[in-house]
Amino acid sequence: MEDKRIGVYICWCGTNIALMVDVEKVTREMAKIPDVVISRDYKYMCSDPGQDLIIKDIKENNLTRIVVASCSPRMHELTFRKALKKAGLNPYYFEMANIREQDSWVHTDRHEATKKAEALILAAINRVRYHEALDSRKVEIDPATLIIGGGITGITAALEIAGSGEKVYLIEQSDKLGGLAAGLDLTFPYLYSAVQMLRTLVRKVNTDPDIKIFLNSQVEEIKGYIGNFEAQISSAEGKETKLKFGNIIVATGLKTFDPSGMENYGYGKFPDVITSTEFEKMLQDGLIQKKNGTEPENIAIIHCVGSRNKNYHEYCSRICCSTALKFANQVRSQLPKANIFELYADMRAFGKGCEEFYASTSRKNIKFLMFDQENELPRVMESEKSDRCDMLIELNEKLSGKAVLVPADLIILMVGLEARQDVKHVAHATGLSICGNQFYIEKHPKLDPVATTTYGVFIAGACQAPKDIPESVSQAKAAAARILSTIARGSVEVEATTSCVNEEICCGCQTCIRICPYSAISFLEDKKVSFVNEILCKGCGTCGSGCPTGAIKCKHFTDVQIFSEIEGLLNMSYSMEEIKEA
């Protein structure tokens, strides 16, 4: 075995660590461990002078392994790896011991916390001895992009990418672009015309030479990996096209909920109970009227239809409250004398300008009536002649605690948004995961909302979760920016901590192929062994733990590395060589 010269660096983190851990004592103790050449403590290891200290030590003392005991690796692992690289050492010859989040922040006994810090650092020292040099790899990027979905999100992303002169393939399932936004009349909260906004965008997309639009088309199968995807597009007429591209944006959106199954609202039974989609159409046509062509006197708008109820969808569809307020405004301006009722569960007028929109709407003599969305939905009933209205809505009004009747001639159901039927098909073709609500799952819900766990595949707009137009447009532009940055670089770096198969041990059982969540493993028929595509592999380790013969090695998480880390944690100092031999 080569000579291991280990440097141990213990951070005070100001007082964050030093207050609860006797850093100086730990530094002295660590110096006594075999192979540890240097043991130092410093106020802020992550600072430039802190990093320079490590770089200087590596160069002057010929260190070959580095351990930094400080905060969480999530915070600074990359920082220190870069420092190693700068000093000419492979960045994977590094291990971090988390003595802040896992120690000083969570303990109150200084003596015990100091002992724990020693154990954690010892574990890191034991592990780092077995670290191997790893190299991150680069993949060339095909500059074309495939966008699935021709709604406002897909259109925006296409324009953004094509605006940089890159090729875009825009796939739309229906016969026209625009998606759900094409069915809107005005938009909340500023009452801009959706049609006018969209018309401009669609004209631009249609005339852009870099955007190739496939209407009435579907993506059959996508093969390949980031930078080098290949797909088969089939149109309704049976025409098949093969495309090559480097990145994918999935912008398939959502569809509206069908209230036919909800008996209490009488949709389908009463001709003047309509959905919000139908009412948008009525507004686009310009005349608010009942089915018999007369003007309604009482208009009731029922919120949360299909949303926030465990029998339908538990999530909030997010766009309906503000849309309902928009309807109230539009009805009020067209029928100034009408009685307008908003039957709502909670008013969720979030977003810029929307609370103000709610406030201004509530001053237009619109009756807001609250119902219990969880337990008792309103019920639409037939009325009698003496009621002087077409229908009555029975309602347990929550704010007054009274059971009341609401007169209605036209009832608008604010239908929620739900996943499209083909969500699984698209997920399968693109390698995306879907959550319990059948929305695509992003890489990180807070910090990486448009990337997915598959490199080169991005999600944008409502297919990730219900969204309004500005949110969808922002995501479209974000995804486009991400793709343009990889195109600009020409290549991307992919993870080095992948797994690989020892072909001599592999028995060809294919267990790993079945359990790999990224479809990164294939079977080599000629050799009868498994093969890991390291570009698709995320290094999750599932295959390594599933392999019955131990043929799969997960780089940077080898058995000997993990065992020696455990030994260190348990404060045992005998050689790991025996275990490695066995």
Binding site: N339, I340, F341, S362, R363, N365, K367, F368, L369, D387, L392, E394, E397, L399, S400, K402, A403, V404, L405, V406, P407
Partner: protein, 383 residues
């Protein structure tokens, strides 16, 4: 019975002081109910009344006793995050409910039309003048205006037994109107509420609360942190009740030609009651001018009318007394008629139809609320 929502209920109620632009701002955070010192289990106001207004549930609103249980400390309006001014709505609802209980419809006219209010006041004053001239005042007996000793002979000009007849007629008329309005209130508050059934013994066991609250306004005392308001109101109320009782039942003892010494109960009671009335009137007028307290910030025209009539009645009453003891017969006799011309319209307009009806509605509201608390709750019936 489920009540139907009436989105146009508020139309025409602005004249009572019900400001739609204010209560419509309420989004039901419940701050007002939380801060109200009088809120208790089962009596959750003023949010309840705001909601009923917003929903236009007329019947439910008419069945509310809560506006009468509120004494307008104004904490709710001071702390309302939406400036919905719930305290002022409660005040306006008291005016509105007075007109709801009044079956003659005059209360509504008085509250919503200045012309009606002043026309009625002047009409009553004119009737009093005519009746006085016709039945009590004897111009022919001019020679008898002055007594042998040079004193004032009030009982010659306005004999107490004749005035008594007028008093009893008026008191009977007022009692009839007030009692029938209370009956109407009982019908709307208790009988129309199908969810409760009041056991008969409760009417007797709860009766004490009616009397107690009439004389003490204990709820009012709980409400406000400024005790002086409650003391002055109590002093004014007791003075008014004593003078009213004396005039209606003991006028013979009160209206004498002999001038008693200062310490005589007849004079002492009169002075104390006058002090009570004046201190209350001046305090309320001062507040309404100053707008220093939350409850005096917004004055309806009827609030001023009431204070002015009360002031004129008290001022003419005490002037009448001064003229009499100073031996100024002519001044005494003219002031007497002016006093009556203020007193009669004040009582006839204010007691059954306007502001002063609260003397009955407030204690009865406590009584009815207590009855409902002791009621048997019936299961909800759908129809």
């Amino acid at each position: 019975m489920k009540e139907r929502i009436d989105p146009r209920f508020y139309v025409g109620l602005e004249e009572f002081g019900i400001k739609t632009a204010e209560w419509n701002e309420c989004f039901h955070c419940g701050n007002c109910t939380a801060i109200c010192p009088l809120t208790e289990k089962g009596v959750l106001f003023p949010r309840k009344e705001i909601r009923l207004m917003q929903m236009g549930l007329k019947k439910e609103l008419h069945a509310c006793t809560e506006p009468w249980l509120c004494y307008y400390c104004g904490d709710c309006s001071k702390t309302c995050p939406r400036d919905a001014n719930p305290a002022e709505l409660m005040m306006s609802l008291r005016r509105y409910l007075t007109s709801v209980y009044d079956w003659t419809g005059l209360a509504r006219k008085i509250y919503t039309s200045k012309i009606w209010e002043y026309m009625l006041i002047f009409m009553l004053a004119a009737i009093v003048l005519v009746l006085y001239l016709k039945f009590t005042f004897y111009p022919a007996a001019e020679g008898q205006w002055i007594g042998a000793d040079g004193g004032v002979l009030i009982n010659k000009i306005a004999p107490w037994h004749r005035i008594h007849i007028g008093d009893w007629l008026m008191a009977g008329f007022l009692a009839f109107l007030l009692i029938s309005n209370i009956f109407n209130m009982w019908y709307k508050v208790i009988l129309s509420d199908k969810s409760v059934k009041i056991p008969f013994p409760a009417y007797i066991t709860q009766f004490f609360s009616l009397v107690w609250n009439f004389f003490t306004q204990q709820k009012f005392n709980k409400c406000d942190d400024s005790k002086i308001y409650w003391y002055l109101h109590l002093f004014l109320m007791l003075s008014y009740v004593s003078l009213f009782t004396i005039i209606v039942f003991f006028l013979k003892w009160f209206q004498t030609d002999i001038i008693h010494p200062f310490w005589h109960p007849q004079r002492l009671i009169g002075y104390i009651a006058t002090t009570g009335l004046f201190s209350g009137i001046f305090y309320f007028i001062f507040n309404r001018f100053n707008k220093s307290r939350q409850n005096s910030k917004y004055s309806h025209i009827t609030d001023w009318t009431f204070l002015v009539l009360l002031f004129l009645t008290t001022a003419t009453g005490i002037s009448l007394h001064i003229f009499r003891i100073s031996g100024m017969p002519v001044a005494t006799y003219y002031t007497y008629v002016i006093h009556l011309m203020c007193l009669v319209p004040m009582l006839t307009i204010e007691v059954p139809f306007s502001k002063w009806s609260h003397l009955a509605y407030r204690p009865f509201a406590v009584y009815f609320a207590n009855l409902k608390k002791s009621a048997i709750i019936l299961p909800k019936r759908d129809s």
